[in-house]
């Protein structure tokens, strides 16, 4: 053994792990090629794709500035939807979070109930929730706000639940020992400990909801998506460009606001 020492070279991985890595790359390649072939996209001339996208962009330029007047109201509606949706989600998410947190849930059944609500809410995209609530509430922003709320419950419930699991339970015990009712326990034992996270996460979700609420119009749930959809279907590309720019502006502003608000509570 000692004699072979000088011929040894340093290697990052031993042979088995290297083999595993190659296998991983190979598998990824096979899946990629197989998926591509399965899809039969019929791209006989891939070089035309950039050209067609480029064509679309040229037609959008210059943006139709006069269209701005028409999208102010839908834009405000979008912001309303995002705000109310987030508020609704927060109201619904707190009980869900209490159920889904291991240390506050009453028993195993409620724990799983919490987990199921969180999972279903998160797995179903906003636009699918919107499809459902347009049937329930009719077309319009109310359906959109409820859809946003239902989608956000999972996100907030999951993350707030995780925060609750990390609280210092000693404080809760102390409040309980002082003779607090369950409501008081929640208000004075748990809430103060998760409040920064509650605010931070709500603002973060609000920011995501502003983005999400721009598409609700495609299925009739209000907001600026209605205008966008209409302009796209009318091939009014310059109006489309205006709407896109406005959305970009709103999203950037809300992201900055959200980042600022979160830096305050952190």
């Amino acid at each position: 053994m000692a004699g072979t020492n000088e011929t040894r070279t340093w290697q990052r991985f031993d042979r088995r792990r290297r083999f595993g890595r190659y296998l991983g790359w190979l598998a990824a390649l096979i899946v990629f090629v197989a998926s591509w072939r399965f899809l039969e996209t019929g791209v006989t001339r891939p070089e035309t794709i950039p050209r067609e996208i480029n064509d679309l962009l040229t037609r959008m330029y210059p943006p139709d500035v006069s269209y701005t007047a028409e999208i102010v109201r839908p834009l405000i509606e979008t912001i309303h939807i995002a705000a109310l949706g987030t508020a609704g989600a927060l109201v619904l998410a707190v009980p869900v979070a209490l159920l889904a947190a291991e240390n506050t849930t009453p028993n195993a059944a409620t724990y799983w109930l919490g987990k199921v609500i969180v999972t279903v809410s998160r797995s179903v995209n906003t636009i699918i929730w919107a499809l459902i609530f347009v049937v329930v509430f009719g077309t319009g922003p109310l359906a959109g706000a409820v859809a946003i709320a239902f989608r956000s419950v999972g996100f907030l419930g999951k993350l707030i639940g995780e925060e609750i699991e990390e609280i210092d339970f000693g404080q809760v015990e102390a409040v309980r020992a002082a003779g607090a009712s369950p409501t008081q326990l929640l208000l004075y034992g748990i809430l103060p400990q998760v409040k920064p996270a509650l605010v931070g996460l709500s603002v973060y979700r609000w920011d995501i909801n502003v983005r999400d609420s721009t598409i609700l119009g495609f299925v009739g749930a209000g907001g600026i998506g209605v205008q966008l959809f209409r302009a796209v279907n009318a091939f009014a590309w310059q109006s489309v460009a205006t709407v896109l720019l406005v959305i970009l502006g709103v999203v950037v502003v809300s992201e900055a606001l959200s980042a600022y608000a979160r830096s305050l509570v952190r």
């Binding site: 705000a83 109310l84 049937v135 109310l142 598409i215 299925v219 950037v252």
Partner: protein, 266 residues
């Protein structure tokens, strides 16, 4: 100044208490404006809840004829294949963009250019991108692939660029000081530091792409979304809930796989 009159008050995140109440009042006023703006009234909500209960009854139990089941499976495979292809293409395109968008490696003009591209990609919801791409390249999975690739580039480059910015420049300088060319500096100074994060991020984005690929069909970009929309438009609610169950199942499996892989790499 009698010190014994002092009482303890909870510290506030705002500098002054008046400020705090002003902010709270502003937020409440905003929500009231939102509620008024989207036409929220109690009778509508109550009626909606009633209709929601009826709809839930229509949804249950999930049901699909053998032909419908076959269609779910086919389109779901299409969704997953779309996600696979666009994860690979998106990540391949992201790598150069991420390097150009990292402040510590990239010259300023290039940095701003790539950051701008990332912001645009992230600002627009996948559905908005999909609707434009469908107009450019036609209906079908190709539009979905382009859409998800575009969204992947925004997400992946942003997070990857941030990881690159966080690397230890000391080891990069060491490689450079040993006389490495720029390419060698990248390969031996930068790459080894970011490989683990790269793997984790890829899997994370793959998981998100599976979710996205299930909805872009709503605007005609391929995958299960189209089946869902058709079923909705035909009021075939048991079929809708069967599709929703299939989506939730696939999303859960993807999330599980992603979580396991990421845990192994961290």
């Amino acid at each position: 100044m009698a010190t014994d009159e002092r009482t303890w008050r909870r510290p506030t995140a705002f500098r002054r208490r008046e400020m705090k109440w002003a902010v709270y009042a502003g937020i409440v006023a905003f929500f009231l404006w939102s509620a008024w703006g989207i036409g929220l009234d109690l009778s509508r909500v109550v009626r909606g809840v009633g209709r929601g209960a009826t709809l839930l009854g229509d949804f249950l139990p999930p049901d699909a004829t053998p032909r419908q089941t076959q269609r779910i499976v086919d389109k779901m495979v299409e969704s997953v294949a779309m996600a696979m292809v666009s994860t690979v293409t998106g990540i391949v395109l992201s790598v150069p963009i991420a390097f150009m968008a990292a402040e510590n490696l990239s010259p300023k003009p290039l940095y701003y250019l790539n950051r701008g591209f990332i912001s645009i990609s992230r600002a627009f919801n996948a559905i908005i991108v999909a609707i434009l791409v469908v107009k450019a390249v036609g209906l079908g999975p190709l539009a979905g692939i382009i859409t998800i690739t575009f969204k992947t580039v925004g997400f992946f480059s942003k997070l990857f660029a941030e990881d690159i910015e966080d690397i230890d420049m000391g080891s990069v300088d060491a490689v450079r000081a040993a006389g490495a060319s720029p390419v060698q500096t990248l390969l031996y100074g930068v790459v080894p530091q970011i490989v683990p994060r790269f793997a984790g991020l890829s899997v994370y984005r793959w998981d998100i792409n599976i979710r996205t690929s299930t909805i872009v069909g709503i605007v005609g970009a391929g995958g299960i979304g189209s089946v869902l929309l058709t079923a909705f438009n035909r009021y075939d609610y048991p079929y809708v809930s069967a599709i929703l169950l299939a989506i939730i199942l696939v999303v859960l499996v993807a999330e599980g796989v992603s979580a396991v892989v990421r845990r192994r790499y961290q």
